[in-house]
Amino acid sequence: MNTLLFAREVTFAYAQRPVLNNVQLALSEGEVLMLLGPNGSGKSTLIRILLGQLRCSGAVVWEGRSLRSWKRRELARRVAYLPQNPTCEPDQRVIDVLRLGRAPYLSAFGIESVRDVRVVEDVARQLELTELFDRRMEELSGGQRQRVFVGRCLVQEPRTLLLDEPSTFLDLRHQVEVCQLLQNLAHQQGIGVLMALHDLNLASAFADRLILLDQGTVAAEGSPARVLDADLLSRLYGVKMLRVDARDGRTVLLPDINLHQ
């Protein structure tokens, strides 16, 4: 597996307040890597640093080249980003939202190539969005909207997807759907997926590897079975956790309310 992203000794502070300290991570093709950690642990900041939106000390290397040597437009053809609250105009049609993903490829006056159209249509087919083309964004359910936004990212033809809590405002079914979709993209198409997530059980079910952040440092890294340690999580989140290991090897975590009381 080729390494898509490598970050070393990433350190960052807002004004004088340290946010990340000496963080190291790597992401390979076809891998789902999830960032976990309590609020304020530095997950979103780390993603923005990897995108070049915040300057840090340390090194960020995309596909063997230092982040600073990438032109913004060039990087946008390799790396797509979905924030926690993606924006769109309420009366914008689905097709117009998907088309935005071709922005890094458009020439002056916004002229589209034949390839631009083909990519949008292929992605729409893949995500079953073709029937929604003419629907306005305000008419869609939360799950459909999120699928459109993931589609906008895929239209960029990225090799890596960075997502900041993509399941936050979704119900359980749609959370699972989105995570399944991202896992399929990684395992079937070889896209590297790096996402910040709050839900420990979703992370356990869908991640190939986890990084647990605590106050800007890596507290644990590795497979879900290894990282999702009840004692460690209890300490980090300030809530006593109960870990249940199912027979098929999956791990489920619950706040251990009875013991806590």
Partner: protein
């Protein structure tokens, strides 16, 4: 899915131009005192000039409205409401005094210098609005409008103060001309050429940015991740829109609501894509102002004793439209700031 190809771009431009030409053609039938009918050879030249002037101003305001709304991510943005028009008008008025004229005469032609003054006024208003209405990089919609109101009020007061101290300039139109603009044929050929050039160049710049302006409706981090240098885009687009507004206002005075109404009417016809919105709103702006000016000539010819400035009519139509938009955006839970 239709590809936005060069042919499609030309088709949209042609359709927009045809829409404008059809309405402008009808306006040719309305004379300067409201009488309708085919113009004589002597009347034709005058009518064409007035219609072209109205169309130029309308086109400029319609196009600038699209860009302001996209860049400020606010469907209520309009050069008039933001104070851009009054800033341009004020400086355009100041230009008429000897000191400014002689100063600028060293730097360029007389007509160009008025455009330059108007642009400085427009750019100054945009900067004030941007600085005062933004909080953590986001523009608060209500604050934006409040700042616009204040900028308009301050500009109006300065105008009246200068007017009171220095006295009225012959041919300046007096305080009324600052309140509502109009199309008059007293504009010199040099001013017409300067305004047309500036509007033309500014429009091409805005059209070239149209693909990226679609992305400007997203958050800053999303726009950056799509490869758009959003700060640079904002500044270039704002300068282009302010230039175009200033060029129009320098020859007409502030004409309200064209920049607000036209983008919204265009949205109903062609959707939210700025590549299609820009030519559509430009044509609708040109047609709307040409038609409104013709209507003013009719009203003036039949009932009023003096010429009715076209700004009166656009404000009468645009005011309720603005309230409707405000009501709609409140019903949607204030999406105007959260797009």
């Amino acid at each position: 899915m239709n590809r936005y190809s060069p042919q499609r771009a030309i088709l949209i431009l042609t359709a927009s131009a045809a829409l404008w030409a059809a309405i402008a053609g009808l306006c040719l039938l309305v004379g300067s005192t409201g009488q309708a009918g085919l113009p004589s050879a002597a009347q034709l030249g005058y009518r064409i000039e007035v219609i072209l002037l109205a169309s130029l101003v309308g086109a400029a305001l319609g196009a600038a409205g699209v860009v302001y709304q996209a860049i400020l991510r606010n469907p209520l943005a309009d050069p008039y409401l933001l104070g851009v028009s009054s800033g341009a008008s004020l400086l355009s008025y100041v230009w008429q005094f000897g000191l400014a004229t002689s100063l600028m005469a060293h730097l360029g032609g007389a007509a160009l210098s008025q455009q330059a003054f108007a642009f400085i006024g427009a750019a100054g208003a945009v900067c004030i609005v941007f600085l005062l209405a933004s909080r953590r990089g986001r523009l608060e919609p209500v604050t934006l409008l409040l700042v616009g109101v204040i900028v308009n009020a301050v500009n109006g007061s300065i105008f009246l103060l200068v007017n009171a101290i220095v006295g009225e300039r012959p041919g300046s139109g007096g305080p009324l001309s600052f309140l509502v603009g109009g199309i008059n044929a007293t504009v010199t050929r040099q001013q017409e050429i300067a305004a047309t050039t500036v509007v033309g160049v500014g429009w091409v710049v805005m059209a070239a940015l149209a693909g990226q302006l679609n992305v400007a409706s997203l958050s800053e981090s999303e726009a950056q991740s799509l490869g758009v240098r959003i700060h640079r885009l904002r500044w270039i687009a704002l300068i282009a829109a302010s230039l175009v507004t200033a060029a129009a206002v320098a020859i007409s005075g502030p004409i309200g609501f064209v920049g607000l109404v036209c983008p919204h009417v265009a949205r109903l016809l062609v959707g939210t894509d700025v590549r299609k919105l820009l030519p559509a709103a430009t044509a609708i702006g040109a047609a709307l102002l040409a038609a409104a000016d013709a209507a003013c000539r009719c009203i003036a010819g039949t009932s009023a004793r003096t010429v009715l400035p076209v700004g009166v009519l656009t404000a009468l139509l645009g005011g309720p439209f603005f309230l409707l938009l405000l009501w709609q955006s409140r019903r949607r839970g204030a999406p105007e700031g959260g797009r």
